[in-house]
Structures are given as C-alpha cells and as structure tokens.
Symmetry: C2
C-alpha cells in the first residue's frame, strides 16, 4: 500500500460517511471524483487500483486556507506577546531580512506538511522568494495560489523592482506547467503600496488572468491613516485601482464599515476571515460576518502566518471564527457550524478559483478522511458541530489532493526530513540574525 | 511494558526537556516526584522498575481543568448555535431530565478519557449523579474535586433535597478513601440558590473542609438581575453567605467590576477562566484578567461542559484565553504564553488545593510528556509559545497521574470500550428523550 502515495491512480473509498449518510467515492485516474453515491462502489471494485475502507470514517472536501504566509512557520514562537510595532521592527522584520530562498523553501515545506496533516489541500500564499515556495508546493502535492508580496513603500525605484519580481514569479509558475500551482498578484496593503503600484497590479492581473491577494482593513490605524491621508477608506483606495474583483481575496477585513461590505459584495470579492491572528494581534474588532453575508461577499477562512497564529490548523480557525463572531457581535446564533464548514471548503475553493470544495462527481478529488471512533467525534449527534466545535486537525487520518494520497493513516512520507531540515533552517536563520551576518 | 499502566511503581524519565533544559525525573513508589535534575538519572537507573526515554520529549506538569461538567460529553454536538434560552429550555434541560446515573458514569468516563488524552490530570466537576461520576474517576486514574450542583430555586422543600444530596456525596467520597477524589460543595449560582442554601453550603464546606465550586457573573443578565433584586452584585451575595474563601473556585467571572476583583483577591478566591464557552455563548465580555491579577486572585482555566465548548482540551483553552484577553482588552501584551501555561498548571493545582502543578521534588508526579519532533513544536524557538499558541492536546504522548501511567505513546487501555459505551449511552439518551419515556 506504500506505493499509493503521490501517484495518479484510481481509488475506491467504500462506505464512508459524507454529509448525512454513507456513500462510496470513486477517484478516477485524472484526479477527479469519477463517481459518488450510496452503493456505487460495486461498479468500480474490480477496476480501482486501491481501496480504502471508509466504514469508520467521515469524508469532507479538503479545507482551503485563503490567507497565509506558509514559510513563516520558521518564525513560529520566535516572538509573541509584544506591542505590534516593537514586535515587527525589533523581531520579525530583522529576522526576515536574513531569510534566503532556501529558508523559504524549507519553511514552505513545513507549512505544506502541517496543512496536509490538518486536512488542508489548497492555500493562498503571499511572501517572497516565491519561486522557492513554488518548488516546495510542487514537491509536497498540495495546491496553492502563490503571490509575491508587492511592497513599494511609495518609491518609484522600489516599484520597478517589485514589478519585475511579480512578473518573474508569474512567468516561473507558468513555466512549471503544474495545474496545482497558480500565480496571483500580491498588493500587500494600501499603506505599503503606491496608487501607481496598485493600478499596475490590477492591470497585470487582468491581462494575465491571475488572482489578487491583498490585506484589507486589518487594523483601525490602517483605516484612520487612509482616511486622513486620502480622505477615503481602504476599500475605496483598492476599488479605485481596480483591485476589487471576483478574483480578489481580501484578508482580515476587521474594520470594514457597512458600505464597504456592500461594495465588496457588489464586486464579488472573496473575504478571508483570520480570527486567531486578529485576536492575537489585538485588532479589537471582528470581521463583520453578518454584513458581508448580507452583501453576498464570498466568505472563507485563513490562518495568517505562523508568527501571528501560531499554527496552520483550519479546524481551529473554523471554531475560533464561529465563536468569535458570536462573542463580538453579541449573537448566540451568528456563524453556525454548517456555515463555518462551508466557508472552509466551498467558500475557500471559490476564493481561489478552484472547482473543489464539494464532494460531487466531476469535481477535483480533494478529499480528507477523519476518524469517527475517536473522542472528538463521540457521540455522533451532529457531524458539522463535531468538526467545527470539537475536533482539531489531529482528527484527520487521510489527505487526498488532486486524486493523489498525500497522507494515509496519519503517515506522510518524508515528514521526518522536512521537520529536521526546517528546524535546522530556523536555527541557522536566528544565528545569522544574531551575529548580524 | 504493557504492565506499566495504572500501577504504583517506580519510573525514571531520562533526558527530557523541562523548562529550559534537559533533566531526568525519578518517580517514587508513593506517586511523588522522588528526584529531578540534570543527570540525576544515573542514581536511579538500577532501582527504577520502568524507564522512559524522554530525549525527544518535553515534560510539563499535568494540566488542571478548574471548571467542567464532565458527563456533558454525552451532549457534545446535541445542540449549538441557538438563542441561550431556547437552547436550555428546548434542548439541554429536556435531555438532562432523562439522564441516569449510568449515563453520568459513561459520560464522565468519556470526559476522563478525553482529558487524559489531552494532558489534563485533575479537574473540578459539578453535575448530578456524582456518585457515579466518582466511580468513573476512580477507575480512570485521574484526580477530581467533585461537587453536586446545588439548585434549590428558592424553594425550601427543594433545598432540603439538595442538602441531602450534598451530604450524601461528601459521605460517599469520604468512604471511597481514594486520595485522588475529593468532595466539594457546588452552589450553582446566585440566581438558582436561595440565600439560606448559600449560607448552609458555606457552613457545611467549612465544617467538612471541602472546596466550593460556583458559577459567578457569567452573563450581564446575572449581574443586572442581582442588582435589581437584591441591590447587590453577585460577588457580594456570595460573600455575604461566606462563600468567597481560599477554597472557592469561581467559574467564568466575565462581568466582574474592578471592586469585585479586589474582593475576590482579598478573599483568596481562585477564578476559572472559560474563554471558549464564554465566546460560544456570546457573553460579550471577557474575564478582566488584568484586574484580577492586580488584585492577587489565583487564576486558572476551565473548559466548561461539552455542550458549550465542545471539547475538554485545555491546550485550546490556554490559547483561546491568551488571545481573547488581548483582543477584548485591546492589549497585544496581556496574558502572555508563560502566564497562560502557569494558569493551566500551578494556578489550577492551587485552585483545587493540590500540591501538583510544578515539576519539583516531593510534589505529586502528575506529569505529561509531549513530542518535540512534531510540527507544532518545530521550530523550537520558545517552548511556552509552542505549547500555548501552536500545539493542541494531540501533542501529548504520555500522561502520568499520581505516579501512575494512564497513557503511553498515545495508547490508553480500555479506550475503545469507553468510546463505544458512551456513544451507546448518548444514543439511547436521545431516544428516551424523543420518545418521552
């Protein structure tokens, strides 16, 4: 069975609980769900190369993380519990200044490993040395939309360099010709990118038909600064540049007002809710879920990077989001379990322009299996509730992406090497930063 | 090695990371930490009956859950995302009306199993059929302070029955003569217990030298009702009855004002912070950590019951508490990782009147081991941060309570039976409630 890993093959999952009953799922050799339904397995039993007994398991669409900086796993625990400006200027940025492409490669590998282990099959990333991140994604078998974090700090010279870096990444990813990996553009935020930079990115994304990945209204300061500088809230600044589109993922959105929510809904923007990071960094306001839902914006979850979370477990994000919304907006019924699960699956897939996110015939076979006979699924009164409120990513037993098995019975080939090499890279990074070399 | 489970024996844990370096820990046959320090292992290597290789592990004091209703695991996922009153009156209370002692036994067993699995070695419980809960605790090897939830609803007749139930539980637990299990009294809350009931409980707890376990200022309504009815805030009502003592654990405390915090500090009360439950039930205000800390109150964590959490994982509670405090009180530095870990260990032990909570010679050997070479501990920049912000209870590999091994390499003898029987009990409970029998 070892040779099932990473292969394009045919797989039959029998008698697995999905939604509200037991079904069989047949994964075709093109990586799609070839068929699914109660009792359909007998048609494929002779032709499927591998069979998985799903009888004590639950199947879900692979989760989708719509905002992260995967390589920041290397910074996990490096600095916490500090005032935001000190944390950034004394700890995070000085360490990042010493990052190499090889660090980003191992950090992204560690991030992919963590996501596979906790049931995430696709993610939306923004960082630098992204060609190295692409290599890591290619090797680990997960899906990703990758953006170079464009920061021109309102300098024309810096802008040229960022344009070149953005163009290079798109070209590199196109040349990899791996359908699991797609380029996005990454305008960092309105307070770090000039209007010229924002406009160029909007035009380039349109020409190249790429996604757009941007931070939006994370802090009150961001909003206040935009209003005092340009007399416009951040959403209006992005909209003026043409960056609010159906291919845009806006991360955080804590401080949107109701009109901005309506604007995002009208433009078809996807919003990435990052409750853990927002709480840890004390943003002091939760994304207005009810207004965004009402406006028809597509909603999803992101973990943010490991410096501000400090893990990539979307199960935790679903729970934290579902309870933060209730707590902050003072409603015991806001963001129920089923909606949280839908955000992490169908909502996430839509945000990234993927057809996955639902277990239906013809869709990509991005599937995770969870154990049923474990504490977090006992009793089994309500599956959505157990998944969102009771289980963590440790309940995931098997992860399949694009029809290929990446984890089975919690075993991921090559895991030890990734953990060892990422730990080494992180240690050496800190040593370089401390010695100033 | 199988016969290490549950036995009073001698154990040597070698080369384990604890605090800021590697030590050996020798567990004596009386269940205490006989010795600990770097290199002390060689003195015990020949005499220790069992040896555990700790070289790629981290040792922590067992976590202490200072507020739960363990048997409510049976209600996990039964009802969520509803308005509080409907949730209680239409779902939770009708189901609880059908609970039997046998249900509470299996529910508590499932709760103990979940706590052992996620590194909790002692808990503070309040529910009913507590003699059956005591039996479950006795068998699973964990520590607990058990209180009968005293609710007289201001009726003298009901009060007599509650007094009898309270007396019976204390007598039963004393007769078990198991030092791991201790009785508490459980005045449910100021809105469910008469002043006469509160006073009787205070006197009885003093005479019997038991702990006191009470809900306090969970909701704004509780405070407003107390003020309008008695012209006093809930803390004053409890204090007048003599229930604020150094043996008291007050759960929730979301809506305390600053004077109440000072009062609790002055009385030496222990406070149980239950952030997940508070968020899920939309209490809309976070326990004022900074005021309670300033007042010198002893601080700890509780998960609350599974109907409002929906798990018993204290790692999740530490993280949620640490980030909720920052978010709600608008401070990036409030409740740092080290303080959260201390609340869940030393603070919890002190709340329950236990000597555990620190890995020191002479203290009870309530010890958990976590893997170092797993994703949530990679990189290893900062152990406290990894434990609080990155790991979940699934990182726990070994759980030792009172010097006895309850879980080793994630294996707990009898786990399958508990899961099967608890699932059956939950299913039959719902069937009884639905058929009205």
């Amino acid at each position: 069975m070892d040779d099932v890993y990473g292969r394009q093959t045919t797989i039959l999952i029998e008698d697995v609980w999905a939604g509200s009953g037991e079904v069989d799922i047949f994964i075709a050799s093109d990586g799609s769900i070839g068929d699914t339904g109660p009792g359909i397995g007998k048609r494929y039993r002779s032709s499927a190369e591998f069979t998985i007994d799903g009888s004590r398991k639950v199947a879900l669409p692979g989760l989708v993380n719509t905002h992260t900086h995967a390589a920041m796993t290397l910074l996990r625990g490096f600095a916490d519990d500090m005032p935001l400006q000190d944390w950034l200027t004394e700890k995070i940025w000085p360490l990042e200044a010493h990052l190499t492409g090889e660090d980003v490669y191992w950090g992204t590998k560690l991030g992919c490993l963590e996501m596979i282990r906790t049931g995430t099959t696709a993610f939306n990333d923004m960082y630098f040395y992204m060609e190295d991140a692409a290599r890591a994604v290619d090797e680990t078998g997960i899906r990703a939309n990758l953006a170079y974090g464009f920061i021109d700090l309102f300098s024309p010279e810096k802008r040229e360099a960022e344009i070149a870096a953005t163009e290079k990444l798109v070209k590199t990813i196109r040349s990899m010709n791996n359908p699991r990996i797609r380029p996005s553009v990454g305008p960092h935020a309105v307070y770090t990118v000039s209007q010229e930079g924002l406009c160029w990115l909007a035009g380039f994304a349109r020409e190249e038909d790429t996604g757009i990945h941007v931070h939006l209204s994370e802090t009150e300061k961001e909003v206040n600064d935009a209003v005092s500088q340009w007399n416009r809230r951040p959403s209006a600044v992005l909209d003026e540049a043409g960056l609010l589109t159906g291919r845009t993922v806006a991360a955080h959105c804590c401080w949107l007002d109701r009109d901005e929510c309506m604007l995002l809904g009208k433009r078809g923007v996807s919003v990435s809710h990052n409750p853990v990071s927002n709480m840890k960094l004390a943003t002091n306001r939760a994304m207005p879920y009810h207004w965004l839902k009402e406006a028809g914006a597509n909603l999803s979850f992101g973990t943010d990077g490991c410096a501000s979370n400090n893990n990539l477990d979307l199960f935790e994000e679903m729970k934290t989001g579902a309870i933060l919304q209730k707590f902050f907006w003072n409603s015991q019924t806001l963001l129920p379990a089923g909606e949280a699960l839908s955000m992490a699956t169908a909502g996430g897939a839509r945000a990234l322009g993927l057809d996955s996110g639902m277990l239906e015939k013809g869709r990509p076979a991005d599937i995770i299996l969870l154990d049923r006979d474990i504490v977090c699924n006992t009793p089994f009164h309500n599956l959505d509730s157990n998944i969102v409120y009771s289980c963590s990513g440790s309940a995931v037993d098997t992860t399949i992406c694009d029809g290929r098995v990446l984890m089975k019975e919690r075993v991921i080939p090559g895991e030890e090497t990734i953990i060892r090499e990422a730990a080494r890279a992180a240690r050496q990074l800190v040593e370089r930063a401390e010695s100033g070399s």
